[in-house]
């Protein structure tokens, strides 16, 4: 592996590279969904896979989300490793019953006789001027469900490594891809196979004043905010959670013990969101280190607005800076 070559890829190209790598390695891996075949996916995440692996392994299905995930449950139980794609996370609701009632519970219900190793991929989140129902960020639904793992990468390197881990995971994984940053930048991605462990956060920037917890599409703008704040003498530690379920609580607590102050950033609505879970972890495990209330910078508790207003909904660099400042300056 030491001689491994790297490529400079966008995040969505890393998705494609991850799928390609696993499909080459394991012939039980099968991709299915709407437009994933000849068209290569509406975001080109499956581009070229149909030509290489054929229509039996890269399957254009009828337009039916419950059908896609429900048949994948049966496939997984029989011994394949299906990777169903839902075109946008906002279209996952017709499949919700299959995800939570069956995929998540099959191992428990059958006492291990049947398992459901599948990866449900979907682009999630806003900021790309998409139509209604195309911009939702509902990771908390899935994180709330026992039996599911929920992964949200923020770099091309992590995307490929986490996707490979997800495909090899013996349990169902909801893999949400931040489409706002699908093509926003490139990063070095090793050729061939490597994994990034599910359930481990990554410190993106070390700092001593405030811990900022973030994941997915909000990560680059949080890093930008952290850089800007150095001018004001605020030194942020930015922790990219990478997996929202299971949460890397040790990483959260370790960072918080260092700084005593926290700001959580996500684009999902605030109430019942992951920020509440992160805040509770800090309360439970690091109360005596706490020097300020935990600040949440999130989407609002409103239906995701049509795109004329989405900039007002999504946490911006300025809003993130303001939230971090609030945590830093509390006395």
């Amino acid at each position: 592996m030491s001689t491994q070559q790297t490529q400079n890829l966008t995040l969505v190209q890393a998705v494609r590279d991850g799928l390609h790598t696993e499909m080459q390695r394991d012939e039980d891996v099968i991709v299915l969904g709407e437009d994933v075949g000849k068209n290569g996916g509406v975001f080109r995440a499956t581009e070229g896979l149909y030509d290489e692996f054929g229509g039996d392994r890269v399957v254009d299905t009828p337009l039916a989300e419950s059908g896609i995930v429900g048949t994948a449950v049966g496939m997984a139980a029989y011994g394949l490793k299906p990777v169903p794609e839902i075109q946008f996370s906002g279209f996952m609701y017709p499949a919700f019953d299959q995800i939570v009632s069956h995929a998540a519970r099959l191992r428990t219900r059958s006492r291990g006789r049947y398992t459901c190793p599948m990866v449900i991929r979907a682009p999630y989140g806003g900021g790309i001027r998409a139509p209604e129902h195309h911009s939702e960020s509902k990771e908390a639904f899935y994180a709330h469900e026992a039996g599911l793992k929920v992964v949200i990468p923020s770099t091309p390197y992590d995307t490929k490594g986490l996707l490979i881990s997800a495909i090899r995971d013996p349990d169902p994984v909801v893999f949400l891809e931040p489409k706002l940053i699908y093509r926003a930048f490139r990063g070095d991605v090793p050729e061939g196979e490597y994994t990034v462990p599910i359930g481990e956060a990554e410190v993106r920037r070390e700092g001593t004043d405030v811990s900022v917890f973030v994941y997915g599409a909000m990560t680059p703008r949080t890093l930008e905010a952290a850089e800007n704040l150095t001018e004001e003498g605020i030194d942020c530690e930015v922790v990219d959670l990478r997996t929202v379920s299971p949460l890397d609580r040790d990483a959260i607590v370790d960072s918080f013990k260092k700084t005593g102050r926290a700001c959580v950033v996500h684009e999902a609505p605030r109430s019942g969101g992951m920020a509440g879970e992160i805040t509770a972890t800090i309360q439970e495990r690091a109360l005596y280190y706490q020097e300020a209330p935990v600040v949440r910078v999130t989407g609002y508790d409103v239906p995701y607005p049509l795109y004329a207003l989405e900039d007002y909904y999504l946490p911006s660099v300025a809003r993130i800076e303001d939230g971090i400042r609030e945590a830093a300056e509390f006395r």
Binding site: V59, T61, P62, Q98, H102, R107, K149
Partner: protein, 367 residues
Amino acid sequence: MSVLQRDPRDRVQVLDEDGSVVGEVPDVDDETLLSIYREMKLARHFDTRAVSLQRQGRMGTYPPLSGQEGAQVASAHALDEEDWLFPSYREHGALHVRGFPLDRILLYWMGTEQGNEAPPDVNTFPVAVPIATQTLHAVGAAWASKLKAGEEAFIVYFGDGGTSEGDTHEAMNFAGVFDTPTVFFCNNNQWAISVPRERQTRSETIAQKANAYGFQGVQVDGMDPLAVYQVTRAAVEKAKADDSGELRPTLIEAVQYRFGAHTTADDPTVYRDSDEVEKWKRKDPIPRLETFLRDTGRLDDDRVDEIESEVQETVADAIQTAESTPRPDPDEMFEHVFAERTPDLDAQYESFAALREEFGDDAFLHR
């Protein structure tokens, strides 16, 4: 001509209500015929006892099957050893034919998850309580089998109410598009709890819905075990023959009646006339097959008595086994959630175990 190639309104029947032969008797050996009879008797007795256990507070809510023995038992008998079965929550008879132990069925309704675990050599899925979701699992598994060059058929059971659910249509659509070896078996028992079949669909038959998906649909007298065996066997054989010139899936509508309540929590007298129930009871599949077996010299009083006492003993044993099975260890809640416990789950388990250790199980039991 295959029994499947007919107008969906042309209901297949072999025995009339009196057990007289009115159609073509399928090619079934005596052993199978007697086994169908025995398993129907067993299912009926099991059902009676299960309802009674619930009434005595020895079991939770239970969905009775009486009236549906012919459809369940004969269709399951039409499968080959390697085939897969995807039940709804009422398929106790079909599951048992496939080798799923009666005591586990009881355990499930007694609230113990281990009752859902199929023995390793039994290809049956856990029961599905949400309506019709299992239709997609059957299509997915059938599709996977086809991709892996397997040679099994996959039968999935659902009710007339289940045909109103989107999943049933997505499942039949996928099955047609991908030509999967799936047998859709609709137990049309006339009522989805209190809502009649006429309020589920305005189609004249359920069988004709198959036309919309490009494969064959056939209506059968679901209380005629010989007719059910005949159509199901034809559907299973077609599912496995990719050169038949027909699409592999089949939709079977088995017209029948649930004699009792939807579940023990339901009171059907609120929505059904007793005349209606009496009318359908005259079609009872058990005496019909018994008459046929007696008329053809396959069964006599002695054998009937023998079967009766065998059945009673088997069910009594199953109840005894289920009731003497220790309640599950509470630790089991934390097993089988994932292949390996996550750190969060581990922490919750440790705290659970510590509480049990310190205060005993009384700390959890609210009385």
